[in-house]
Amino acid sequence: MLSRALRTKVLMHVLLVPFLVFALFPFYHMLLTSLKQDRELYDRYAVPLLIRQAPTLEHYAKLLWETEFLTWTKNSLMVTMLATTASMLIGTVAAYALSRLKFRGVNSFGTGIFVTYLVPTSLLFLPLAQVINWIGLADSKWALVLTYPTFLVPFCTWLLMGYFRTVPKEVEECAMVDGATRIQALWRIVLPIAIPGLVCAALFAFTLSWNEFLYALTFTSSSEQITASVGVTSELIRGDIYFWGELMAGAILGSVPIVILYVFFLDYYVSGLTAGAVK
């Protein structure tokens, strides 16, 4: 006879099963599809939940060697890293100023950052496309490096303000009494204490820009300039014939960088997700 506490615990796990299936099944099915031979994939009487015939890597091979997938991934990496770095630099100093310094306009700028944080990209992509044209960056990945900070900077600033506020003012004041300048205090005292916050902001900035789709789809179009999301969703679909195996392989490989980060920094994702909204 199971004890009452144990029975409740088992029941909780049973109740979790539908949620876990809902969350994970799409990934399982994508992986399965990408590993199936076409013969089994397009057999309407085959069981779609399993691989019955020998699994194959041919879809991955085709994706890597016969499409521009590697170029798209390289573009994604370049855009994401540059946009993240720039946004972190701009966001860190802005967040420090907003959370620590007193000067004219600090409150209205803080509100401004918050409002910008809420402005959806779908409100701005049309006029931004014009701006991109004017400055000669049409169909260039540099347009993305330039525009991604518009949503990354408000996000990083907002998140980091919360973290900077948790660093006790006294620690910083101590350093300044000892003769350090503000910039030294920021660099040597505040930033090292706020490292978890910085990691969190960088991770989210990376994830957000890797996931961005509307600007990437609008501002770039040629195969040498597009990012992984755009490449997989537009270049792998030609006419009415869909190569489902390759499509799913592309969707999976295109998520790999994020999954790697995710596995290593899960706790940061959890705390950042909460802090971004609630703090």
Partner: protein, 313 residues
């Protein structure tokens, strides 16, 4: 460090320009504005200015590659009279309303479960959060395949379980099924955000409240209704407000899954605006469509500042 450098400066008898710069930079009135300048320039040039352009476009008959003229509110009026836009407007409310209702209910349930003692807690939490981190455009491709008219695994499973009659619904080809499909993907993708945030809210509720309620003879259900829900209200308000704006303005899911079809039945502001503004070239009308989002944005900003964040910014 300080003790070493100070006498040196004094010995020089005057402030070198570097020391002078250091001293000026130490003033909050100087350093503050300096630190926010990069962010300010970025926002002015690439957010505020395009926003003004959007307003100008929406009041003009701008067309790709043609000079535009001011035509007042004609775009807004004409849109309001068009069936396609009315449909989009209605879709946006249906899509957002149903998605958020499900996300709130499922989010609270899942958060309550995750707040229990569990085996593999970290692993389970990681699995639950996964749909949120994977690029939406790519995971939606997976759903697209799952809703395929010939090979839908959803229908296969439904038929195998005896819930559906063969061949099962053509998910992306029939109006209400297509809406159900995009709503499902939105719930799937948005649920982690609700769950994790609500879970943080749950953890923050003081244990004493439950003990007191139990001492007063409250059962699990009344403890949930009279302790948990009221204490979760602020967190729920924030999450719902955030989600409202991001669900209303959603682009990725509809763009990949249905392209707004069949017959505009799943178009949202973003996808319809892109279709009219870029694919048909009517920038003025496209800008007007996305500006219909603006009143909603204003409301959310106002509600956030007014009720949720007592302390401004």
């Amino acid at each position: 460090m300080a003790i070493g450098s100070l006498p040196a400066t004094v010995a020089a008898g005057r402030l070198s320009w570097r020391a002078h710069a250091r001293e000026v930079l130490d003033r909050e009135r100087v350093l503050g504005p300096l630190f926010i300048t990069p962010a300010l320039i970025l926002i002015l040039l690439l957010v505020a200015y395009p926003f003004c352009m959007a307003i100008y476009f929406s009041l003009s008959n701008a067309f790709i590659g043609r000079p535009s003229h001011f035509i007042g509110l004609t775009n807004f009026v004409r849109l309001w009279d068009s069936d396609a836009f009315r449909q989009t407007f209605q879709n946006a409310f249906v899509f957002t309303g149903i998605s958020i209702a499900f996300k709130v209910v499922l989010g609270i349930s899942l958060a309550l479960l995750l707040n229990q003692p569990l085996w593999f807690k970290r692993l389970i939490r990681g699995a639950v959060l996964l749909p949120w981190v994977i690029p939406t455009a790519l995971s939606t491709l997976g759903w697209w395949w799952m809703f395929n008219s010939l090979y839908s695994v959803v229908n296969w499973t439904g038929i195998a379980l005896g819930i559906m009659d063969p061949p099962g619904p053509n998910w992306l080809g029939q109006k209400s099924y297509a809406m159900a499909a995009v709503v499902t993907v939105n719930i799937w993708r948005g649920l982690p955000f609700f769950t994790i945030t609500i879970l943080a809210g749950l953890v923050a509720i003081p244990k004493e409240l439950y003990e007191a309620a139990q001492a007063d003879g409250a059962g699990p259900w009344s403890r949930f209704c009279y302790v948990t829900l009221p204490m979760l209200k602020p967190v729920l308000a924030i999450v719902v407000l955030f989600s409202t704006i991001f669900t209303f303005s959603d682009f990725n899911i509809v763009q990949v899954l249905t392209h707004g079809g069949p017959i505009n039945s799943t178009h949202l502001f973003a996808t319809y605006s892109r279709m009219i503004g870029l694919e048909s070239g009517r920038i003025g009308e496209g800008a007007a469509i996305s500006l219909y989002l603006f009143p909603l944005l204003m409301f959310v900003v106002w509600a956030q500042l007014r009720f949720v964040r007592k302390q401004v910014y």
